[in-house]
Symmetry: C2
Subunit: 522 residues, 2 copies
């Protein structure tokens, strides 16, 4: 990237639109509309007062001091901790205990926000503060659609979801492992995934975290597109580091976190907790544990490179105490989410949580109730980075084509909601009320005519017509309507432009890396 592009990237990162890149893309794909990341006008909702936050913080400090955190199979982490005054390292147990207050000190170097650059500067996103960025589902080994049912995901599915994410006006981010391309060797599929994000989209994306060398591959491929120097000086990836709850970071995740932090790339340090199994059954204890894990993992990143961007992550769900099954969209995780957002703000860190979570096996009412019982709290909590925003089904085992489309529509509504209430003279509409008066109607009045186009959020998936019309059209439910939409989108997809030399270099890098080792399938 040259200096001018970089300058533009900085300017655009806070949600601007238009510019040369957009005009170029619009020529290629005239119907593509992209919304900038949400800049919330509404305040975050808070469920804990200062005393409650103090209590949880005090408890977390006590646990970090008495019990500590496991740093497993990664001796370099123990080495780094041994150099820190106040850290007590037990090398045999691979555990570190922390003097109260020391992690807060170390974390003072984390940026409270950062820009993640996209290869199209128009799509760069600001992460932190009042911004909310939506990224698609992450991790499912299966996909499903109404035509072919549930099946293992392939690279074709992966590419499809990258394209659908690119085409959604309401996803600001291309995500990472939208689904696992199970038809490609485990040790090579990350190459195809990074390639797809870079080739079929121009939105920001996530790097591979399943081994340190795959993180290195992600960085090298990013450098082909963004340039070496740009990548070393700017975040071009935000990658997902899940804690091994309770209170453990394993060698795989520590290795990836280490690589990304060294290169100044952003990571989400995210406890993945099903309360009742991986944390105590209560909200307060779960929040205490979340705080312990995030503080320790994020501080490790700061030891690697002070100032490396880190997001305070929280993935919260329960298990059913009756069956042991994970459950989603229930009230306790919503409370955890709100509380964790407050804790993240206390540490001046961007916050990740939420998503279109559900436990349902089909795109039915259960799926949708549960989804909005997570998306709405996440937005209202003030989430900065929402992973799993679209497509999540069956506890995250499945990426659903139809649910992806329906979830995006809900995300669209959140854009309108988060703007809050317009109090401008036009919005006051006094002349309209005066004009129409008691018993009249507003359809034809001047104010309605003037505000006609922008009046209300326009859903792309709902059917609000008459029963008779709906019956005549075959009684299609929302999943069936979404089925037609994603197919149409894939049919009309046009790839964003990518410099041919860069494309060739990416493909050459992939080919070389794939030839260098045998396929592994576990």
């Amino acid at each position: 990237m040259d200096g001018q592009v970089e300058e533009q990237a900085k300017r655009r990162a806070r949600g601007g639109s238009g510019g040369a890149g957009a005009r170029r893309a619009a020529r290629q794909n005239p119907t593509l509309v992209q919304m900038p990341a949400i800049e919330r006008s509404l305040p975050p909702y808070e469920v804990l007062d200062e005393a409650g936050l103090d209590l949880i913080e005090r408890n977390a400090e006590a646990i970090l001091d008495e019990v500590g955190i496991g740093f497993k199979d990664y001796p370099r982490a123990l080495d780094l901790w041994e150099q820190q005054p106040g850290a007590r390292v037990d090398r045999e147990a691979e555990r570190v205990r922390f003097e109260p207050g020391m992690l807060r000190e170390i974390l003072k170097s984390t940026p409270q926000d950062y820009t993640q650059h996209a290869r199209n500067p128009e799509r760069s996103v600001h992460i932190g503060g009042k911004t909310t960025v939506f990224a698609p589902v992450y991790g499912p080994p299966f996909v499903s659609c109404l035509d072919k049912g549930r099946r293992y995901a392939t690279i074709e599915d992966f590419n499809n979801f990258v394209k659908l994410s690119y085409m959604s006006p309401y996803l600001h981010h291309s995500g990472g492992t939208i689904c696992e391309p199970c038809d490609i060797a485990v040790n090579k599929r990350h190459l195809d995934m990074i390639y797809a994000h870079l080739r079929y989209s121009d939105k920001p994306f996530m790097g591979s975290v399943t081994a340190p060398e795959r993180a290195e591959d992600s960085i090298k491929m990013a450098k082909i597109v963004f340039g070496d120097e740009f990548v070393e000086n700017n975040a071009v990836m935000t990658s997902l580091i899940n804690c091994n709850s309770p209170m453990t970071l394993d060698g795989t995740m520590l290795g990836a976190l280490d690589v990304y932090a060294q290169h100044n790339q952003a990571c989400i340090v995210s406890p993945f907790i099903l309360a009742g199994a991986m944390s105590p059954t209560t909200v307060t204890a779960t929040l205490t544990q979340v705080l312990c894990e995030v503080l320790a993992g994020s501080a490790f990143a700061q030891l690697v490179r002070p100032g490396a961007p880190v997001i305070f992550g929280t993935f919260a769900a329960n298990i059913s105490m009756q069956t042991g099954a994970p459950t989603f969209g229930t009230p306790e995780p919503a409370l955890v989410l709100y509380g964790a957002a407050q804790l993240a703000r206390r540490y001046n860190m961007p916050f990740r949580s939420g998503g279109a979570l559900c436990g349902s096996k089909s795109v039915d009412a259960q799926a949708a109730y549960e989804t909005n019982a997570t998306i709405i709290p996440a937005v209202m909590a003030g989430v900065n980075f929402m992973l799993h925003s679209a497509g999540w089904l069956e506890g995250g085992l499945v990426a659903s084509y139809e649910k992806f489309i329906l979830d995006c529509d809900q995300l669209g509504m959140m854009h309108t909601f988060a703007k809050g209430i317009d109090l401008s003279e036009n919005a006051q509409g006094m002349d309209a009320i005066r004009e129409v008066g008691p018993g009249g109607h507003f359809l034809g009045c001047a104010h309605t005519q003037a505000n006609f186009k922008s009046a209300f959020y326009q859903s792309t998936t709902t059917d609000n017509g008459s029963f008779e019309q709906w019956e005549m059209e075959g009684k299609r439910d929302s999943a069936q309507r979404a089925n037609a939409i994603w197919k149409h989108q894939l049919e009309t997809y046009v790839a964003p432009p990518l410099d041919e030399d860069k494309d060739a270099a990416l493909q050459a890098y992939m080919a070389e890396r794939k030839a260098s080792e045998a396929d592994a399938f576990s």
Copy 2:
């Protein structure tokens, strides 16, 4: 009702449980569990600051002064307003204009909360303050179920929904016209509806508002059960007075409001607004109009009888500007709902809004997304009385048996959510975290064992098991599971006890009233 029962009613109204009534009901129906109305621990969410509220109030005062409110086909209302200094009555236009500030003065006599008594004192509800009361859907001419599809509602359907409302632990109120019993004459069906609420449930209910004499019938039937003096001194009904938006109250609604206020019975004064048609397209203008309508209607009730309980109501939805169809669960009405709740608190009035609103024709994902996009904002806004909490489908044209069951489950979750975060020593769970430590799991630890039963909200409708199990069991979606649940509930329904003499007197009253006039079907 004797003094002792009345005393107990007062004591129980704020959400107590147990007592002689509960024990008696439990003997009759051993599985019946009833949750008291929600007492919110969490603060309401606010979308407007003081300046925004001031602006809307100032604008409303200006509209009330310049444009005024229509009081149609009810000369007594104009008579009463003529006696009020500051009110300018235009008898020809049947319109009243109000000097700024005068309605606020008149409304000082409205109680900020009240108790609505149920015939079982255990079920009496406190309405106002931090309490949230859930009542079922109101008004649909149709019902639907998976077995018989969509069809006109009958009295059998009505009775069924009263029974299902009685059996739901999460509905605190029996509601009113849960569906229209279209097989009974228009001028007589209110008798059967009031009878059903009194006979098949012991929860509080709503009176008829479709004509003043039907309001009188409602009061007379209530007196048979509660006693004359008790009814004159206590609210035993909360009834729905819809404004004829924009800015009109018609003779039918004014007549019913007049009767109920005379008898000190509670009413909801509720603009029914589809923005774009019945109000301007903007949130701020809609809130301004809502405030005008509520202030004028509620003040009228205070002219009839100072101190008569009135709820600040708001039913908000949009029309699609593209098709004219009403839409539900979209972002703008959620903002109206939050803003209206703040206005209600400004006037120290209880607030009604929300509900399981949706535009979908089937119990699909659209229905559920839209429903939670209204229920969640309503609870978080601090709603006191939520009409349409369960069963609403197709823009309110249909009461769905299956959706009723699914909605009740979501209401259950709201009970848990609204409690907020428990910070007790048990909830802190420090010993659990110490006991389990890094890499362990919490399933078997002492804290989990001790909290096992109450740990998480237990959904009655979701399926969170494996795909394989679900497939083996026939891939039932949530509507199909709900179908089995409502049938089982109706099969196991046991009526709450009702004194035989009172039952006979109710039936005699109905018979006499029905014999006194010919059937009318419009």
